[in-house]
């Protein structure tokens, strides 16, 4: 028994308890405290994981992918530690281990499934040795918080090459991710989505990766799913979308997603997901590929994916007096665009709520709102009753909607979150969509829970 670890865990737990009592979520503070008391805290705790550590990183879909993998492993009767709350920097990762540790620093755990913020990968990799590293995608995030994508890619590459162990699970459709099969010496398995009814031949929204990461020539695309994700090949060298070992074929998207998953060494299997947004399919494929790699039976994997419940703000569904209400966390243009596309999947009349904060965790710079294609709501504004803008930068959001072509009288600014939520739930028919940046999310979620009946339970 290490005395340092003992005190670190005790202090961490006290903080966790205290912050729960005071009503905060407390998802990273215990780790901060524990790490201060005993710097090897995370290393000692993670070293006890019996089967292996799975690390999930990338811009979008980390939390969902992480939770799906954890769900699959639990269905396979493994004991799992995961950072479910999306607390994905070193302190958050430490906290999730502390919560599972006995007071004497013992952890009874087969697998740890850890989502890690892109910029924190090097620091986390110093402390724990993952068996599998999943990279979901790279999109432009708020740039005052993160660096340019090339820099992120370089930092993760260097950290993986220094480490030189682990299997990579990579998104074949994202050239920025797929390149890791070549720029690291690690073995890789790829997942991807084949052409389907909603793929497009051109994409004006593409902003990253127009050029080959190896030779700089333009990339040519057969089709796009969204952003730079699609079937690409370099016009100058041999770089192209790798053949996916796990691929979704015949995908159909409505208010749910159906497809067939084709994979090496086995018969294809059907997948149905009760969720919207093609990005959720990517998350499921990443989890499927990880499960296969760990030798888990496909029946159990599908079982795990089917029982997946969206976590707070990941298209979480509520019902309020017969009206369907969706809560969607937005962090960057790509994620917001995907969320907006859900508004056009049916003909229901909609009320929209958008909470934009500019605290540290949201990104202090709200310029990214101008990279979101609100023009699609402006052009299709007949199907919307009203837009309620709120949060510390609600006024800025109103300006964005006005310039996107939403008529002035459909836009309202209300800085009071509670009133804003109440407004957007008004009227019995149709649907409500609530978009929120990170620091407003928990408050909005809390308000929603007290106001509606039939909210989906999680935790």
């Amino acid at each position: 028994m290490k005395i340092g670890l003992f005190f670190a865990i005790m202090a961490g737990r006290l903080v966790a308890f205290a912050s729960r009592v005071s009503g905060r979520k407390g998802s990273s503070l215990p780790g901060v405290i524990a790490g201060k008391i005993y710097y090897r805290c995370l290393r000692d705790l993670a070293g006890q994981v019996r089967e292996g550590i799975i690390l999930v990183t990338g811009t979008n879909g980390k939390t969902t992918t992480n939770n799906m993998i954890a769900g699959i492993l639990e269905k396979a009767r493994f004991k799992v530690v995961a950072n479910f709350e999306g607390a994905n920097m070193v302190s958050g990762v430490t906290t999730s281990f502390i919560k599972k540790a006995g007071l004497f620093g013992k952890i009874d755990c087969d697998y740890a499934v850890i989502e890690v913020d892109e910029a924190s990968v090097p620091r986390v990799m110093k402390e724990l040795k993952p068996e599998v590293i999943v990279i979901t995608n790279f999109f432009r995030d708020q740039l005052d918080r993160y660096w340019e994508i090339e820099k992120i890619v370089g930092v993760i590459r260097d950290s993986l090459n220094k480490y030189g162990y682990a299997t990579l699970v990579l998104n074949a459709d994202d050239p920025l991710v797929a390149q890791f099969g070549q720029i690291t010496r690690l073995p890789a398995v790829f997942y991807g989505i084949g052409r389907h009814e909603q793929t497009t031949d051109t994409n004006t929204r593409i902003r990253e990766a127009k050029f080959c990461p190896f030779c700089g020539a333009a990339l040519a695309y057969d089709f796009f799913h969204y952003g730079q994700l699609g079937n690409y090949r370099c016009t100058g060298c041999s770089f192209k979308r790798p053949e996916p070992g796990v691929e979704a074929m015949g995908t159909a998207v409505s208010d749910r997603i159906t497809c067939r998953i084709v994979y090496a060494n086995g018969p294809e299997v059907p997948l149905t997901m009760q969720t919207m947004g093609i990005y959720n399919l990517y998350n499921a494929l990443a989890a499927f590929a990880t499960g296969l790699h760990l030798g888990i039976d496909t029946g159990i994997i599908l079982n795990g994916l089917n029982s997946y419940q969206p976590v707070t703000g990941r298209m979480e569904k509520f019902v309020h007096q017969g009206k369907q209400v969706f809560l969607i966390l937005v962090k960057n243009p790509t994620g917001f665009n995907e969320g907006l596309s859900a508004l056009f999947l049916n003909r229901e009349k909609k009320d929209v709520f958008i909470a934009i904060n500019d605290n540290d965790a949201d990104g202090k710079d709200v310029s990214w709102l101008w990279d979101v294609d609100f023009e699609i709501v402006g052009n299709g504004h007949e199907s919307f009753r009203r837009f309620i803008c709120t949060g510390r930068r609600g006024e800025e959001m109103a300006v964005r909607l006005k310039y996107a072509g939403v008529p002035r009288d459909k836009i309202a600014v209300n800085p009071d979150l509670k009133q804003a939520v109440r407004k957007v739930l008004e009227g019995g028919n149709g649907q409500s969509y609530l978009f929120s940046t990170y620091t407003a999310l928990w408050e909005v979620h809390g308000i929603l829970k007290t106001m509606v009946a039939g909210g989906i339970k999680h935790d």
Binding site: L143, K364, D365, S367, W370, E395, V399, R400, A404
Partner: protein
């Protein structure tokens, strides 16, 4: 027909830059002034004389290097157009490019277009945060608000600043100036969507465009309630209202 030229939109597109194009375009449309946007990329044919308004945004270092070579070949035509009164907005990287040179931390001197009299050198710290700048537009004092995020520090020679820093860093965090101004050229570190919120600046640019065409009467007043509120929130936070 007012013609907007968006230079290198696929390369210079950091931080919601296109908000500036959207704002300029919409404020023309709302006044029933016909407007069109031309996107011009590397190697495309470009006659500056054909355009009323040119926008040059910011990009990452790699992207900026790609365009310098292209822009160098157009340097003389651009300089001539600027002297003749072309209305131009240049932000961040686009701003730096118009100057004499950029001095890197390693002491390397990267030549700029040398059209405007200022230079930039790599700073020790990144200047990031909300900014308020007091400027004068057509005789009226206006406070612009925005966000800056730059490591280059710019020092003006015999050229006017865009305005005086009321809060934030501006050109270099030292001399209290923000941006640069020459004839109808406006340069600023207030990146990304500068024009949407700062409707008076947008209208001033549109006014300058119309004036060159002797059609000033088309500049009708618009309702700026949302824009003004968005500015006021930030001015309030910076302790300026």
């Amino acid at each position: 027909m007012i013609k907007i030229c968006h230079l290198y939109p696929d390369l210079l597109n950091l931080y919601g830059d296109r908000g500036n194009i959207i704002a300029f375009q919409q404020r023309c449309r709302w006044r029933n002034i016909p407007v069109e946007v031309h996107e011009v990329g590397i190697g495309d044919v470009l006659y500056f004389d054909h355009f009323d308004f040119l926008f040059l945004g910011g990009g990452s270092d790699r992207e900026q290097n790609l365009i310098v070579a292209d822009l160098m070949q157009r340097r003389n035509e651009l300089k001539e157009a600027i002297e003749k009164g072309l209305v131009l907005l240049a932000i961040c990287g686009g701003y730096q490019l118009l100057g004499k040179y950029y001095l890197t931390r390693e002491g390397e001197n990267i030549p700029g277009l040398g059209i405007l009299d200022f230079y930039t050198r790599a700073g020790d710290r990144r200047l990031v945060g909300n900014v308020a700048v007091e400027t004068n537009l057509g005789g009226e004092t206006v406070i612009l608000t925005g966000f800056e995020n730059h490591s280059g520090q710019t020092y003006l020679g015999s050229i006017q600043p865009l305005g005086k820093v009321r809060s934030g860093n501006g050109n270099n965090g030292e001399d209290g100036w923000e941006g640069a101004r020459y004839k109808n050229v406006f340069c600023s570190y207030l990146h990304g969507p500068l024009l949407p919120k700062n409707a008076r600046l947008t209208d001033h640019l549109i006014f300058l465009v119309l004036k060159r065409r002797n059609r000033q009467e088309l500049l009708k007043p618009l309702d700026n309630t949302f824009e003004d509120r968005a500015c006021r929130v930030m001015l309030g936070r910076m302790g300026l209202v």
